[in-house]
Amino acid sequence: MKFKPGDLFTIVIIAVLIAAVVAASEWVLRASIIVLALGGIGIVLATAQLLIDVLTRTSATPRQTPKYELPTFDQIDPRVTLWGSLEIWGWLIGLVIVIKIIGLPLAMPLFVLSYAKFYGASWRLSTLLALMIAAFVFGVYQQIMHVYWPESLLGDLLAGSL
């Protein structure tokens, strides 16, 4: 039996399918039948996949990847991939936090400006990109679509002080 970290994802999928089937079992049949049927089939298929992977895998087994999936991650050192992925996820989570603090219209240009500058763009280029996003946000979403922006800490503070 040979386990690889990727098998964990298959286990998670199986767990999600089991949870879906369990949740659906409490619903009326009309609503649950498709979830029970397909969820059950999915559990069988995913378990079969896990068993095939674990039991038949050898060191020489090539990675099973759909033909059309871009082998983006395969060609790079996994440590680089992991670190690079963690970085960008960090940026995205940080973006969500900043949106909650200063609001979406301000957070988006700030994100673009800081990301571009951090990774090597000049001030001019970073500012230009940020202005393009700001123009899009204010021109399309604000002026044309008249969006109600989600509440933010800064917005609440300003509203409270006025």
Binding site: R30, M145, H146
Partner: protein
Amino acid sequence: MFKSIDHKGVHARRTVARFVLPAVLVGALGVVADSNARAAETDYYKGKTFTVMVATRPGGGTDTVGRLVARYWSRHIPGNPDILVRNKPLQVIGANDLHNRVRPDGLTVGVFAGGGSLGPVARHSKSVRYDPTKWGFVGSIERGPSILLIRESALSRLRDPKAEPVAMGSVNTDRPQDAMAIFGMEYMGWNLKFVLGYPNSNSFYLAYGRGEIDMFGSGTTKIIERFIKHEGAVPLAAEVDRPDMPQVPTFEKLMGDNKPKGVKWDAYRAWAGPSSVDKYFAVSPGTPKALLNILRASFQATTRDPEFVKQARNVLGGGYVVLDGPATRALVEGAIVIPEGALKEITALRVKYGLPKISRKAAKLVKVTFDEVQREGRVLKFKVEGKKMKLRVSGSRTEVMIGGKISPRSGLKTGMTCEVSWAKRGSRIEARKVICP
């Protein structure tokens, strides 16, 4: 040396000075203030965007009516604001948003259909986080009572239990035509089979054209006329009298001696009750009365606009009626009250004919006083009928309302008296609703 003092005159002058002048001054200021306020009201909408929030996906009846009004509304609102139409995917979502998220600044009006927004309220659904009685009502457009249409060739099968059942198309069996069909099955032995789950009215119009269903209902005159003229349909019954179609008998008349009495007939009226309010326009709780009045007046002016009338006749047909704000409120308040006996009867019929429950019933609310509130509202301790209770309050699943508005759980304090409902969740008991004054 001294002029004699005219005491009465002095008194009179002092009275004027003490009371009348100030009154006149105040009155004058009031006039100025009033005209300033009027000017402010007139200017209020100038340069602003007025949002018409339609509580359905684009393309259906509610959306059509909302957009029809929106098209002409701006010219009748002082200040002529820009009008924006926005859609929400479900009635309940739109209603929740109007009550809890939309600012009461008179810049957003919700457009709803009675059945989808008031039905869950009438049935005490747990998905309801709004109270329509607290909204401001601008007005409504009633397209006309529903007519049950049947394919002429299927008429003979309707009362023949041995024949293939007549297929009745429906979205979710919440409309007046569904009530007519169910009561027809129950009390007149109609040979019907419900085919429900069509996503919207358009899809069962198409299904009728394909021969998939033989019966459906509609209140829109244009649709009724089209299907009678071009698609071989005949009108079977009307929900109530339709002045534009006097030849169609009301369902009550059609039932004749088969008409049930007492609570069973109450159930028929209550089934269709929420849908008796057709398409109505409302603003969020707390909207200033002055702004509500502007919107009411402009709504009436819009619906009297000759261009609107021409378009409305083209889109809806001739049978529609416009109601003002107070009349709409009266309709809404009547629609959300279902007598307990009628509700039981409706539930029993739904079960008998295999119809969807529509929504889960909310757990009963119990009035309690919190002996202790711990961890910023996460834990409530109180007594019910002498028994100690400890409830968890979830930040996402528990609905906490304080003073009529959704509030964070940290607003709950020891000593507050609130109405609470709860349910078991795993090994814990979790509050579903906490409603405090």
